[in-house]
């Protein structure tokens, strides 16, 4: 009897401890997460972009939707594009580590007839990084539905949520004000362009080093191709048009990775339902034109690049 009671007591203790842990793990993020957003988070830019995409839906004016990575966030002047085209411009470019599938799915739900969709992929952007995707889902929970597969590890995701909630609570508690910084929410204007670097001097940056990784060239290109093809099919069924252009890239990085870039571009050429415009060389600029990476243009060069995108895509007013 005694030993049975002991075992029961032991089990109860551990069950209660487990319940307590779960309460902490799920309860605190729920309590904190609903009101707190960490303004130092660059990925919160997704909110601005999604809001603009949703706000412009159903507009009488046609839209120019730019899909891609941070090279678009840093390299495009949406207001200037609107002046040049008479279209409503939505710049969805945010971060290459969010991966191709997220970036396509995120916009698809809001696309409509007559939209002109410009895809400008960074060359290294394919699967994305789990860490970045999770960070995005934490900053912007609406994004969760576009990456169910990535967040399927519920324990890991929930733990990240808890840790973030604690960090936000700490910042609020000690009244730490987040100063505007390049990679924070304050970096964006209301159109979703990064403008914070307007008066900042450029920084030294590492050259781009593209690699296929363990997944291998053939497999990556094949998957990339089929997911783009699928996306284009759905967009065209809606009555929208898809264009694809190369991203802005520093001269030295282009030269270092030319072979790989050409392989990626050739792969795009095999996608039948996409309008491929220009070539990677068209968007190669001197290294001095860039801000802090070989694909983030300086503020003053955004207009040149924006105009070039329009010219090469053939959608100038």
């Amino acid at each position: 009897m005694n030993s049975k009671q002991n075992i029961l007591g032991l089990c109860l203790r551990y069950v209660f401890a487990l319940l307590g842990l779960c309460l902490w793990l799920w309860g605190l993020p729920l309590l904190v997460g609903s009101y707190a957003h960490y303004e130092g988070d660059y990925l919160l830019g997704a909110r601005i972009k999604q809001k603009r995409l949703a706000d412009t839906q159903g507009d009488t004016k046609k839209r120019l939707v730019l899909l891609g990575c941070s090279n678009l966030a840093f390299g495009v002047d949406s207001k200037y594009l609107e002046e040049q085209t008479g279209l409503r411009v939505v710049n969805m470019g945010l971060h290459q580590d969010l991966g191709q599938d997220y970036m396509l799915n995120e916009s698809l739900a809001y696309l409509q007839k007559g939209d002109l969709v410009l895809i400008v992929w960074s060359y290294g952007s394919w699967r994305g990084q789990w860490q970045t995707k999770t960070q995005l889902a934490l900053a912007y929970p609406e994004a969760e539905r576009f990456m169910r597969e990535e967040l399927s590890d519920l324990g890991a995701y929930q733990t990240q949520k808890l840790q973030r909630a604690l960090q936000i609570s700490f910042d609020k508690l000690v009244f730490i004000k987040t100063k505007p910084k390049i990679y924070g929410l304050h970096a964006f204007d209301s159109l979703g362009d990064v403008v914070i670097h307007q008066n900042m001097s450029p920084k030294a940056f590492e050259p781009l080093r593209l690699e296929w990784g363990s997944e291998g060239q053939e497999s990556i290109l094949c998957k990339q191709q089929s997911s783009l093809q699928e996306f284009c099919k759905e967009v065209q069924a809606l009555g929208a048009h898809v264009y694809m252009l190369a991203p802005a890239l520093a001269q030295s990085s282009y030269e270092d990775n030319q072979e790989l870039i050409e392989a990626i571009w050739q792969n795009y050429q095999t996608i039948s339902n996409i309008r491929l415009c220009g070539s990677p060389q068209d968007f190669v600029y001197p290294d001095a034109a860039f801000f802090d990476t070989p694909s983030h243009l300086q503020y003053k060069n955004r207009r040149i690049h924006s105009l070039k995108l329009l010219k090469i895509a053939g959608i100038l007013r």
Binding site: G20, A156, L166, F170, D171
Partner: protein, 465 residues
Amino acid sequence: MPFQSLSFLLFFAFISVLMWFWKGPSRIWVLLLGSAGLYASFRPAYLLVMLALIAWDYLWARVIDAAEGKKKRWLLAVGILANLSMLGSFKYMPFLTAQINVLFNASFTWPVWVLPVGLSFHTFQGMAYLVEVYRKNIKAEQRLDVYALYILFFPQLMAGPIERPQHLLPQIRNLASGQMNWPRFERGMLLLVAGFFRKLVVADVLGILSAPCFAQPQNFVGFPLFLSILCFSIQIYADFSGYTLMARGAAHTLGVRLSHNFKYPYFALSMQDFWKKWHISLSSWFKDYVYIPLGGSRQSFGMASAVLVLTFLLSGFWHGANWNFLLWGLWNALWILLERYLQLHKLPLLLKRLYVWTIVFYGWIFFKVSNLNDLLHCLFFWFRGLRHSVPVFFESLYGLTAYHWFLAFVFSLWLFVSESHYFRQKFSLTLLRRPFGAIVLYILIILSFGQLFDNEQLNFIYFEF
């Protein structure tokens, strides 16, 4: 499969359940196969290297045991040479070849192989076994499975402690008749989660703070550089002692007591004292198998000093094939020699500790920085520009939030308080007797603050050796 990964936890849970229910002599095989599988998970070819090492030491110890007289000494020398050759060809030959090429303007080449995980630890454990058999302190092990598990036992597989055969072999033999029990399992779990806490919460948070500086030391001067060195000093202790706690905890649950590797080293009162408390299994190995056989302190001052310097140079070289490790060894040896004149015992307690912290923390620069320019920069520029105020530093450095600094401060303090004499007297025994609450608390803290998702970048520092 690093220790701090989920896959290791699952592996450990699986082995624990098996060992709980498995009875009889084949328990040794369960652990042996599990350990071999874990080792092969890093790189299957590693296991072949390890099996070759095991087979050699097992057979050679029996040859040594059977021999007599002068022949026995030669046999021991051959045995040790074989172990050193194995270690040398993986770890030291590329470095030595490069030095020879520089010295003689030659162009010899040596293939650079990936160092099998923990090879430095295993070869030292193997050599300890050969020496102890030679000294007749133990008989050569008859059972290959027992000896193989002595080397491959998974809790100490990656980074020690470097166990002595007298201590570990009898425990492994007893595993056959042993049985797991709940109190011991709980105590083991407490050690395990305490190790996780040290690694994932203390070491890895500090690692995030110190990494930018050591990645590009030339960009840092003054207070940021000083703080980075301080962070690394606590990080390396939390990291290695965390691993040791995990190893001891995992072994304890299975019924094996591994040696202590640390005895509160940052509370040491001299450098000599520090080396009795830091990485004890390695320090005592060098003491027993190098320093004392070469005469130790029972010889002229000049000879004793030379032997001490040699021992520390070898100890530094054990950590890595590079000049910075040799300099680190020399740095430590020189201070121990100096202490004979410093009359530290006359100093108040606080000053003694400050002295040890200064020497040890400064010494970690040699340990961490291998590039000569970076090394010189770190050694001479940390006290320049101390005008950098703390708030400016917190706001501007690395783009990290004050939160990380807060965590680093709180948990480093926790680490030190938990090692203080007062805390140990007051709480340690109680905790070990009633570990449940502490286990839950540690898990809570690890989930809340542990760096659980960047494990690739934040592996154990001592896994490199």
